[in-house]
């Protein structure tokens, strides 16, 4: 199942890309963390501080994904 992954700030730096279409086996948000760890193992230490947003809404790790979802990888925000 294909989803569109978007990464920001230090998550983008760690992954080395800002956007990618990814084919996932299990349609859960938590699998995105497995994918990120396969790109760069440093994401394992990070996963507790990263939030995911599906179609621009924050979701928890058990959130089911649908074909074509846009999944944003949101590292700790620092606006203001």
């Amino acid at each position: 199942m294909k989803i569109r992954l978007r990464l920001f700030a230090n998550a983008r730096d760690l992954a080395g890309f800002a956007e990618k279409t990814v084919d996932l086996q299990h349609p859960r948000a938590s699998e995105v963390f497995e994918y990120l760890a396969s790109v760069n193992p440093e994401f394992r230490e990070w996963s507790r501080s990263i939030r995911l947003a599906v179609n621009r809404r924050y979701v928890d790790d058990a959130h089911p994904l649908q074909e074509g979802d846009e999944v944003a990888v949101i590292p700790p925000v620092s606006g203001g």
Partner: protein, 146 residues
């Protein structure tokens, strides 16, 4: 009113937009670039956003504040790109009948903006290095809050 802008924020225009005949007060918070961070000299901050989501979260904050306090108008403006020392990165303003709700709502808006709006800052230091702000070690916050 919520906005993201690459240009310097016109604070006077934001405040003018908050006036209304019914209002007895306007409270404004202005966040500015500080010249140091954790003991290191800072030259500028560089902000980026996941823009469509940032605007949606900002609009959601505005609605929550309007439901919680009797307010007249709200403005949330965040600058993106490079913000030199002393310049405003964020301006939040609230007009209301009385100061109590204006102060409370303004504080709520900046506090929750800093927790939830997908905007990131990168600190550019005088020694030529740069770093994303915000520790990756901090524990995950409750995603069900928004």
């Amino acid at each position: 009113m919520t906005a993201l802008t690459l240009n310097p924020i016109d604070i006077g225009a934001v405040v003018s937009g908050l006036t209304s005949p019914e209002s007895g007060g306007i409270d404004v918070f202005i966040g500015t670039t500080r010249n140091q961070s954790r003991g290191r000299e800072v030259l500028l901050l560089e902000y980026e956003a996941f823009e469509p989501m940032a605007l949606e979260v900002m609009e959601n904050l505005e609605r929550r504040a309007m439901e919680r306090w009797p307010l007249h108008k709200i403005a949330i403006v965040h600058r993106l790109g490079r913000v030199p020392v002393g310049e405003a990165s964020v301006v939040i303003g609230v007009s209301a009948g009385h100061r109590k709700e204006a102060f409370e709502a303004c504080r709520f808006l900046i506090d929750v903006l800093k927790q939830d709006v997908p905007i990131w800052k990168r600190e550019h230091f005088a020694d030529g290095t740069m770093e994303w702000s915000g520790s990756i070690q901090q524990s995950k916050v409750n995603v069900n809050r928004v």
